[in-house]
Structures are given as C-alpha cells and as structure tokens.
C-alpha cells in the first residue's frame, strides 16, 4: 500500500502557477528524492504537503486525507537546510519538542531523547547550547528532532546543503541507513544526484512545477524520456535523437585500425581516475557534433584520435514528448 | 578626557572674565507662553532707546515663576513679565525682583499696586469669572454666586482643580473672598451636593461646557471675563456669547519686574517703563485679552464691544494667599473627596 498519495496538486501564488497538477505515490517505507533545477517547485511541493502554502488537490497520508488539516495535525516531520534549531532551547529540549506536543511525559521524553541522540551519534551532548554546535552536529540534532515523534512522513529540504562535500557524503550514508532501519517514509529534496542515489529508492524530477519523470535512479538514467531530462541528469552526449552513454564510445589511437571516425581533442581533464575528453568530429555522429568520451590514456588538446561508437547503445527519446 | 575638561574650565573662565559691569544693550524679557504683543512693538522700543529686546518664554505662569525663584540671583533674563497676584508673594519672598519705580505709575489706580517697595509693576488685569449660557439653562439664569448651589442648576456647573489650574485656584479664592474663612467650606459642600464637576484644567472644562468645543452639556463654567470677547471675535458669524456672573469675578493682575541679579538694571527698568507706556498698554487688550492698568491707555473698540465691565472684582491680599494657599487647597481637596 502507498504511504503518501498526492493527486493533482497545484499551487498558485500571485497569478503564478508554482505547482501544476503534481501527482505522486510514495510506497510504505520508501524514500523518494525530489530533483529539479532551482525554481522548479521542489520546495513548494514540500511546503504544500506540509501545509505551509495553500494548494488545491488531494494529499492522502496513510488512510487520512490531510489536505485540509493545519500543519500541526498532519503528522509529518521536517528538516531544513538551515536546520532551524530553536535557539532558546538546548539540544535535548529541541529533540523533545515534538514529543512534548504529542503528550509524552517528561520522563518518557527524556528516555526517547537520549536514545535518539545515541542513534545519531550525539550521546552526551544533551545539555549543549545549540549555538555551539558544528554544522554536522546541528544537522544530526535536526534529524533526531524530526524523527522523535515518529512522523508518518519525513520531508527533508536540502538537509545537507550547507555542509562540505566530505561530511555530506558521510552523513548521506548515515541518513540512508537510519531511514532504512527506522522504516521511515521520506521525501528528500536535493539538487545533488549522488546524494539522491545514496539516500533514495526512487527519483522524482520536477520542471516548471510539473513532474517530468518518476522512477528508479537506474531507470531514469538509462532511459531518460526527454532531452531535457537527459541533460538535467548530466548525460554528456545528448542530441535531439537520443542519448549516447559514455561507455558506448571507445577511444583509440588515430593510427590504429578500426576507427569509425577521426576526432580532434578539444579539452582533456583527469577526473575520477580516467581522462575525460571533449572531442570535435568532422561530421555529426548520431546527431552529435561534439562527443565526450573516457580514456585511460592521455591525449592533449589538438591531438587526433580514432573513435569506435556502439550506435546500438543509443537510447532514443520517446517521440511523443 | 582630562584635556577636554581643562579646555572647558578655561572657556568658562574666559566667559566669566568677559562679563564686565557695563550695562548691556541687549535685554532679555522672560515671560510665559501666553505673552504676545503686536509685531514691531519692541522695534519701536529699540528705535527710542537703542536697546534690543529678546523675548524668551518658559512654560506657563506657574512654571515661569517657579523657574525664576529657582534661579533667583542668577536669572535667565533681565525683566520678567507674567507674575500675577496669585503667585506674587512667593516671587517676592523668593527674592526674584529688585525695586524699580516705573515711569507712568502715577496713571495706575492704587488697587493694582500690590507691592509697596515697587519690586513689581502692574501691567494688565483680567478676571476669572463664571460664564453661563442662559438659553441652555431653561431660562433660569443664575444671578449670583450663591445661586450655583440652587437645585435648578444641579449638575450644571463645571470648574477646575485649584491645585492644577489657575482659574480653578481663582474661583476657590473667589469663594473664600465671598464667604470668608468660616463659610467657604459650607458653600463647597453645597456645590458638591449639587453635583459640581471638577476638571484638572481649563481646556477640559471648556470641552464639557455647552458653549465649548466640541461642547458638552454643562451650562455653567468657570472661565474668564474675556471669554465672551474670544467668542465674539473668533466665533465666526453670529457667534453665541456667554454671559458673565460678575459677582464671581476674581481679579488677576499681571506684573513685570526687573530681575534680581541682572547686569543691566537701568536698561531693564526702561523696558518695564515701556510696558507701562500708553502705546503698549493700548496694544495689550487685543493680543492678550486683558485690560491695561494704565488709565491713560485707550481700550480698542473691538475689545470693548464684547468685554463685560467688572466693577467690583473680588481679591485677596497676596500675603494671605501665600500664607494660606497650601492649607486651603488641602482642605478643599479633603472636602471634595469626603
């Protein structure tokens, strides 16, 4: 059964349609990453589900229709990029906030807070002043606070956005693990696909307030429906016809036999253990006049190389789009 | 910090050294905020004497006199105008003034001369009187101060707290002058039983008077003899004019004096003389709406048209006022709060 069911959700602010008929399903205990360029309505989708902006459409959480409920009755958890920790409360009181609201006794709340802080790796920091926390610590407190009342749905809006790369990777893994073990259903807004891949089972891509893709990371990557999606996901070789995976292009020495095309190296960069080449071809190949390829060998700009292209690997876009 | 202090002290010493014993040709007239004369009045004085006058005001008459007493011997100005007979004794006791026998004093009737040593010179006189609107009293107008305690004027009379209002104080004095030390409390008990209203000041009282602005429902108010003049001159076309209950009128005489401690007593004296001169005296009625004390001064016809003559105003000797005012107001307060 589905945990969250959103149908035809629209948000209009000052004659401006921010969300246009968004529908989505979130399975029990699954995590969906919401991706999209800035201004595509990612945060608004979260804010509409949370009840911060008025929206039309259906929002069903579990077996409850929550569209007309005020935020505090929706039973959701929220995490912001800015953490939004309550500055006047210490770590423990921040985490206990939602528990107190749901009527848990002080004693029970204290136990649960200690347990949660232990889980997020902040045991012993209960009495700390939130202003003294590092970015990573603040993020963990925010997570513990959001999870404490065991929300039916957790929504995270760029939760790791303010952290540095290394910490982000580390926390993303921790977060994924925590969401999995606690069986929490979550919507995860991010602009970072790697992070999305680590945390989420499924991706949802928004463009101009509309859902343009929904599926597993692999599905969307291998078979993007439109050129826009392919480019948004970071495919290098995208033409009007379709998308050619990087692995479909092999680079050989221009003197070696078997080359289908001879190309000129425009730029070469050493990234993630191999050379990434930007190549110019004299005649377009599968509609591409520039091709990106990977190579273990170094070729300097201006060098001529031979290319072997597996044309069968081309994924053609659905002509209906 | 220290250097700044040294500099300040040096400047102060320099300023002190500069002030010689010569009389200054710049005279400061210290007065209350209601003081006004026609434009050009002091230019004429300057043309006549070569002395320029700066007019400086400081609150109402009460604040002015209190400030003068507080700065006695080191005054803010050279001449003070605006002490009245209600405040006079305190100012004299506070050594505010020095003697100056003004030119023109002979033309002033003796009843205005309240200081035998001539430390102050009378300049103008007005009257605090009960005003009423006969048409709003069902045709039965009060004919004397005694009528105010009659049942037909129940809840019609409004006056002011003598602790916070000069006309209020004058009316209290009027009752003391009329009924004497032994009788005024009974009179006030009757007023209270008859529903007298007391406000803190003139403006609030006038606001509750039928002839006031915005106007209330009280038909009788303690105000000034000049109130009908204001109503006549500033009331637009067909103004409604209040009547005056003349036997309630308490004289209010305003004085000027040379301030004790001035560097220029002679020039200051010239200014006092000028204030008593027939020209300035004739200018007083239409600016401050009180009567000149100099019998040689001509009262403008516009003023005379609406002014009600007060032939036998009430008064109390300033010494009695100074000696008893605190006790009287205290007794009055206790009586009304009984």
């Amino acid at each position: 059964m589905s945990r969250l069911h959103v149908a035809d959700l629209s948000v209009q602010i000052d004659d401006h349609l921010i969300l246009n008929g968004v529908s989505l399903e979130l399975a029990e205990s699954s995590v969906v990453a919401v991706l999209g360029p800035s201004g595509s309505g990612k945060s608004t989708l979260l804010r509409a589900i949370a009840g911060f902006v008025s929206a039309s459409g259906r929002i069903q959480l579990g077996d409850r229709d929550i569209a007309d409920l005020p935020t505090h009755k929706r039973n959701i958890g929220l995490m912001f990029q800015s953490h939004a920790l309550f500055p006047h409360l210490d770590v423990a009181d921040n985490v206990a906030f939602g528990l107190v609201e749901s009527g848990v006794t002080r004693a029970d709340a204290a136990l649960r807070v200690a347990e949660l802080l232990e889980t997020v790796g902040l045991g012993g920091m209960a009495q700390r002043d939130v202003a003294s926390l590092s970015g990573g610590e603040a993020q963990r407190v925010a997570l513990a606070r959001a999870l404490a009342p065991q929300p039916a749905l957790l929504m995270l809006d760029e939760p790791l956005g303010s952290l540095d790369r290394r910490l982000r990777d580390e926390l993303a893994l921790e977060l994924a693990e925590l969401l999995r073990t606690s069986g929490t259903s979550a919507l995860y807004v991010t602009h970072d696909q790697e992070e999305a891949a680590v945390v989420a089972n499924d991706l949802l891509i928004l463009e101009s307030g509309e859902v343009v893709a929904f599926g597993t990371t692999e599905q969307l990557w291998r078979t993007p429906a439109t050129r826009w999606i392919a480019e948004f996901l970071g495919h290098a070789n995208v033409s009007t016809d379709g998308v050619l995976p990087l692995g479909a292009v092999s680079v050989i020495d221009s003197s070696e036999p078997g080359a289908q095309v001879v190309a000129t190296v425009q730029r070469s960069l050493f990234v993630d253990g191999s050379w990434r080449l930007e190549l110019a071809v004299p005649e377009p190949v599968l509609g591409l006049s520039r091709i990106e390829a990977r190579s273990n060998r170094r070729f300097d700009p201006g060098a001529h190389v031979g290319l072997i292209v597996d044309t069968g690997a081309l994924h053609r876009f659905d002509p209906r789009h | 910090m220290n250097r700044l202090f040294v500099l300040l002290v040096a400047l102060m010493l320099a300023a002190a050294a500069c002030s010689g014993s010569e009389e200054s040709d710049n005279i400061t007239l210290l007065t209350h905020e209601s003081f006004v004369l026609s434009e050009g009045t002091f230019e004429q004085f300057t043309a006549d004497t070569g002395i320029t006058v700066e007019v400086v005001s400081s609150g109402d008459a009460g604040a002015l006199v209190a400030a003068a007493i507080a700065t006695s011997g080191d005054p803010v100005g050279d001449v003070l105008f605006g002490v009245d007979n209600l405040l006079l004794q305190r100012a004299l006791d506070g050594d505010v003034f020095q003697a100056h026998e003004a030119v023109g004093l002979d033309d002033v009737p003796d009843r205005f001369k309240l200081d035998a040593e001539n430390r102050v010179t009378p300049i103008d006189t007005g009257y605090v009187c009960v005003n009423y609107r006969p048409e709003d009293l069902g045709g039965s107008a009060p004919s004397s101060i005694d009528d105010l305690r009659q049942p037909q004027f129940a809840s019609e009379f409004i006056t002011q707290n003598p602790e916070s209002s000069t006309p209020g104080l004058a009316f209290l004095f009027a009752t003391i002058a009329t009924y004497g030390e032994d009788g005024w409390q009974d009179y006030w008990r009757d007023l209270k039983a008859n529903g007298v209203t007391v406000t803190s000041g003139w403006t609030e009282a006038w606001a509750e008077y039928v002839g006031g602005d915005p106007g209330g429902d009280k038909g009788i108010v303690n105000s000034y003899a000049s109130s009908p003049v204001f109503e006549g001159l500033f009331g637009g076309e067909n103004p409604t004019i209040s009547s005056i209950l003349t036997d309630t009128c308490f004289a209010q005489i305003e004085f000027a004096g040379v301030l004790n401690g001035t560097d220029s007593p002679n020039n200051a004296g010239l200014l006092v003389d000028y204030l008593l001169s027939p020209e300035v005296q004739a200018d007083i009625p239409l600016n401050m709406f009180v009567e000149p004390v100099n019998s040689q001064a001509e009262v403008p016809a516009e003023f005379a048209e609406f002014a009600v003559p007060v032939s036998a105003p009430l008064s109390l000797p300033p010494a009695d006022i100074a000696a008893n005012q605190a006790r009287w107001t205290q007794e009055w307060l206790e009586l009304l709060r009984e």
């Binding site: 009342p149 | 002190a16 507080a70 803010v76 409004i158 000041g201 009304l336």
Partner: protein, 525 residues
C-alpha cells in the same frame, strides 16, 4: 571593539553625564539643603501607585500591540508603512486631546470618568493609546526578522498556533519585548498629563508630585527629594533591565520573508487587526479631523488655510511653528540617531563600559521633566546656554535615544559577526567596515529609531517645556496649547487643523523613512 570602543563609551557616558546626571546634581546642590516636607510613608505610597499603574499600563500595552505586531511580522500589504506611521500619531498629539477623547470613549460604554474620583481605567486606556506604537515598532520589527522556519518546524512537530506562540515565538521575542516594555514602563512611570487629567483629585505619581511641589508650591526641597527617589528607582530598573537582557540570547535575524495575504481569510485577518488597532489608536485623531474640517457647521478647509496667518494670541503663525517643530525634530532625531547608534554598538561590544552604557541610556526616559528642566536652569549657567535652542534639541534627543537603542541594539546583537569579519578580511579598515558594511546593515533599525526620536520631538516630550526659549523657536505643540487655551470656534478649529497636520507630518516622515530604506518587504523597522 578595542580602545576606540572604550573611547566612544567614555564619550557617551560624558554626554549622558553632562545632560542627565549633571542637571540632577546641580538641582541637588541648589536645593538639597532646603527642608523636606514629605514623609517616608507617603513616598512609599506614591512609589507604590506609580509602579502599579506603570506595570498595568505596560502589560495592557503589550497585549494590545501583539496582534498588530504579528500582522506586521507576517504579512506584506499595501498600507503596511502607513500603519506603522499611523500608530505613532497619538504620540504627537497633545495629552489633553487624547485624554478628552478617552473620556468620551469611555462614557459611550457607560463609564463616566468623574473629575473628582478619576478613573484608573481611563489612565490605563490613555497610556495604551500613547504607547502601543513603542511595542508595535520595536517588537513588530524584530518579529519580522525572525526565521519563519522555526515556526514551521514547530508546526511540523505538532504544535498548534497557540502552542507555537507560547513555546517558540514568545521566547524568541523576549529580548525585544523586554526592550519595548522597559521603554513603555519608564514612559508611563513618568507620565504626567494623563495622570493629572484622568486621575481625579489627589491621584498622584512621583512625577506629578515633583511637579506639584516644585511648580505649584515652590517647595524645591521636597521636589528634589522626590527627584532623587525617582532617579534611584529608575536607575534600579535600568540595571534590572540590563541584567535581564544579558541573560537573553538574541535570535539571529534572517532575510525576512513576509508574504502577501492570500485568500479572504488572511486578508480579513490583516484588515481587521490592523484596522481595529489603528482605529482604536486614531479615535482621538479622527475626532480632530472632523473638527478641523467643520467650519460654522459645514465642511470647509478654512481652518487649514488660516494656519498661514498669525492669530493675535500667538507670537508666530501656526505654519511657522510647524516648520520650527520639523527643524527641531530633524536635529533631535539626528542627534538621537547618532548617539543611540554609538551606544548600541558599544553596548553590544565587549568594552568594559558596555554594561554601564546600556544601563545609562535608558535613564533619561525615567527622569522627571521638571528635574531635568530645572537642573538645566540652575546647572547650565554658563555661555547663556540656558536660553539656547541647543538645550531644547538636547532635551528632545535624550528622550529619543532609548528608542534608537531599543531598535538598533537587538539588530546589532543579531548581526552575523562573520559579515563584518569578511569586510575586514577584504582589506577594509574599521572605519570603512563601519561605513560600508555595518551601517547599511543597521540602517533600517537606525531609521526606525530616528523616526521615533523625531516623533518624541514633534510631541515635545521631556524637559523642553521648562526651558527658556526664544520666540523664534516657538513650536507646533506650543501653538496648539495656545489655540486650545481659549474659547472661540475658529481658534479651536485651527488647533484641530494643526494637530491633523502634525499627525500627517509624522506619518509622512515614517513612510518616507520606509521608502528611503527601499524595502518593500520590511525587515527591521
């Protein structure tokens, strides 16, 4: 702040010492040896009632102001700046006008305010009308800068609107609320006209008694004794306020995000709350507006056009008095803005003198106008300073300074220090960082405080009434008093017209300050 901060702190303390402490000392030196005719018991009673009415007034004012604070903090709407200006209007109206209006208002609800017995309710109501603006401007501005996500996070955690207000908003507003409450408390602690007019016979506060002893009785010994009691009480409260403030942590300010009201429900909320509050505060003003347009029973502008001519009873034309008032307000507002901003910077710094400065700036608000006025008269006997308009500007400015500090200090404390550090890393020296980074960031708060200080001056609060001043500096409030002090429909009409113009001047001032800031959305007010 290093040594520069210490020097600024010393300068500020010297300024306050000269303008506040010195006059009090001078008054004591002059009158300290005179007999004192007040008993300890009566002083205790007096202080008791003074404190009780001030506390009640402060609590009611805060309660009355909070809904409008919320609207100001939450929504962006067309008349927002005008509403912020309108709440200041009662501030510049003569006390007697507001008091008469309160009495009329109460009598419509069947409560007759008797001149003999007076009414505590009427006193409190008038105090609320005068002081709502303090809370709306100081707290509303601060509230607007709170991070809305804190509220959202609390909502998501299951807290309803009332719980969120109690558990999140209120604690976060404590610092600003305390700053505003301290000002309202001191303002009502030293309230004079309202007590005298609406209090009835014999109802007195320390302030009215100082006036009575000094002015009505010329018993300066007793007045000086009461002035000392008042100064000690006020200093004690300023210290207490400063201690409390230190314990509170300022919530960091963010880029604000007021939203346009959406849907009829939000629109109704905004209109009802701002409309009702403004209507309540402006009831006296509306009566004046009607009066000013009524000429001989019909509608007309005669009273306004008459403002250009000098009526016999005034030394200058009402228009000229208005120009004087605006000039004084600009000077006093500017001086208060300068001193207040420096004081706020020092108070927020780690200078050794910061606590002293933070405590000292509040004190002028609580010192009797009589004390300061007479202190100036007997203290500043050099340079003919006593009749210099400079003293009037100073007397206005020192009452305005606490408002500037109240607006600027929370803004300084909420500043992200790193912004300033970035500025100095980029090679700017401290003067340049102050000019190019700090001041632009604080400008809205400074402007808000300066607007208030200007209103204080336009309303002629403080000691200036007792100072000797030349006819050329005759101000609008003086002219209004002159005009309403006599019968005559046209004089009363002109007084009303002048009040209306004065009210419009303060609204225009506030709206144009708002424009100057170029913020459509608000931020610090």
């Amino acid at each position: 702040m290093g040594p520069v901060g210490d020097w600024i702190a010393r300068g500020l303390l010297a300024f306050l010492g000269l303008t506040v402490a010195y006059p009090i000392v001078a008054m004591l030196r002059r009158f300290g040896s005179e007999p004192i005719n007040v008993s300890v018991g009566s002083v205790l009673d007096l202080v008791g009632f003074t404190v009780v009415q001030a506390v009640l007034s402060t609590v009611l004012t805060v309660l009355m102001a909070l809904p409008l604070c919320w609207v100001i903090a939450t929504y962006r709407f067309r008349f927002r700046a005008a509403v912020m200006g309108a709440v200041l209007v009662p501030f510049v109206l003569p006390t007697v006008v507001v008091a008469v209006s309160v009495r009329n208002l109460l009598s419509q609800f069947g409560l007759v305010v008797d001149g003999i017995d007076g009414s505590l309710v009427a006193i409190l109501l008038a105090h609320v009308i005068f002081n709502v603006s303090v809370v709306v401007r100081l707290v509303g501005g601060y509230w607007a800068a709170l991070d809305p996500r804190l509220d959202e996070a609390a909502a998501a955690l299951g807290a309803g609107p009332i719980r969120r207000f109690r558990r999140i908003t209120l604690p976060l507003l404590r610092s600003a609320l305390l700053a505003a409450a301290a000002i309202v408390f001191l303002f009502t602690f030293t309230s004079f006209g309202v007590i005298v007019i609406l209090g009835g016979l014999g109802r007195a506060t320390v302030e009215t008694e100082i006036y009575r002893y000094a002015i009505t009785r010329n018993d300066f010994g007793s007045a000086a004794a009461l002035a000392v009691v008042q100064a000690i009480a006020v200093a004690g409260m300023a210290v207490m306020n400063q201690r409390l403030q230190r314990r509170l942590r300022a919530a960091s300010a963010t880029a604000t995000r007021q939203m346009q009201p959406v849907g009829w429900r939000q629109r109704a909320r905004v209109s009802v709350i701002s409309g009702a509050t403004v209507a309540f505060l402006l009831a006296p003003f509306l009566a004046l507006l009607v009066r000013s347009l009524t000429v001989q029973g019909s509608l007309g502008l005669d009273h306004f056009t008459a403002l250009t001519d000098r009526p016999n009873i005034l030394p200058v034309s009402p228009l000229r008095s208005l120009a004087n008032s605006v000039l004084f307000a600009s000077l006093a507002g500017g001086l208060a803005a300068l001193v207040g901003t420096l004081a706020a910077l020092v108070a927020a710094s780690r200078s050794r003198l910061s606590r002293l400065v933070e405590t000292a700036v509040l004190i002028p608000l609580g010192i009797s106008a009589v004390t300061l006025g007479f202190g100036y008269l007997v203290g500043f006997t050099f340079f003919e300073l006593r009749r210099s308009p400079i003293l009037v500007v100073v007397a206005h400015a020192i009452i305005g300074i606490p408002f500037v500090v109240g607006a600027v200090l929370p803004a300084v404390r909420a500043l992200d220090r790193s912004v300033l550090e970035v500025g100095s890393v980029l090679g700017a020296n401290s003067v340049a960082v102050t000019r190019r980074v700090l001041l632009p960031l604080l400008r809205p708060a400074i402007a808000s405080g300066a607007g208030f200080a200007a209103a204080v001056s336009l309303g002629e609060f403080g000691a200036s009434g007792f100072l000797a001043r030349g006819r050329s500096s005759y101000t609008a409030p003086q002219a209004i008093f002159g005009l309403i002090g006599q019968p005559g429909a046209s004089l009363q009409g002109q007084a009303a017209a002048l009040c209306v113009v004065l009210g419009c001047v303060i609204v225009a001032l506030v709206v144009s300050i708002d424009r100057l800031r170029g913020t459509s959305g608000g931020g610090w007010l």
